[in-house]
Amino acid sequence: MVPLSYYLVLSGILFACGILGFLIKRNIITIFMSIELMLNGVNLSFVAFAAHWQHLSGQIFVFFVMVVAAAEAAVGLAIIIAVYRTRETLNVDQVNLLKL
């Protein structure tokens, strides 16, 4: 028997690591992966609450989060490829002017 708060703390740690990665990393792809880490942390807390309140809607919502994450990953990676083709760099600090 594991208290619900343990699951929430784990979810919070993953979310915090995601935010940290988003702030400190300079490679576009790694920033993207930190966003996926945040979404995973949120998924865990959805499933934990579903088990706590004995209501399957939490697990259903995880599907929708995954679908949105997939759509976002597809479009986001296409944007990254387009940015790389024009600017030849993946460092966000160097993509700071609208002019090429």
Binding site: P3, I29, E36, L56, V75, A78, I81
Partner: protein, 174 residues
Amino acid sequence: MDLHLALFLIFGAVCVAGAINLLVQRHPINSALSLITVMASLAVEYLLLGAEFVAAVQVIIYAGAIMVLFVFVIMLLNAGEEARTGGSRIALVIGVPGMIVGSTIVAWVLLKRSGTGDVAIGSLPGDPKTIGWLLFHDFLLPFEVTSVLILIAIMGAVVLASRPELSSHLEKER
């Protein structure tokens, strides 16, 4: 220390180790592989909570398709290791202690409110039949909307990632 708590702590430790490894590694392919291990251990955590279908879908879609896409792009663009710039140093010095303090406060508050009760192992079995029923009866509208969303994402990705000759060819045709 029963089996549920032991398994939760082991796979929770793997999750956190993977997440920290994602932050620490300089090369994006190592970060991608750490994220895959985070997702795999999260799938085990879902199994501990009884969500078997969600765990299988997490492995098939998240770890088996979305992360493959990430690994592809990293391989294609052949990005090297990350460089340390001035902005990233400032973010490290301020962000890491700030985030550690913030998450410690949140964890403290959560653990103190111990009146939220326990969750037994496999307590809400999410078998495919029940989830399918819910998905196609109560949640039919969000289901259809997300399928339209994926269609839009496919079209957007194809147009964005296509070669410039293709889009200029389309310009000429107009």
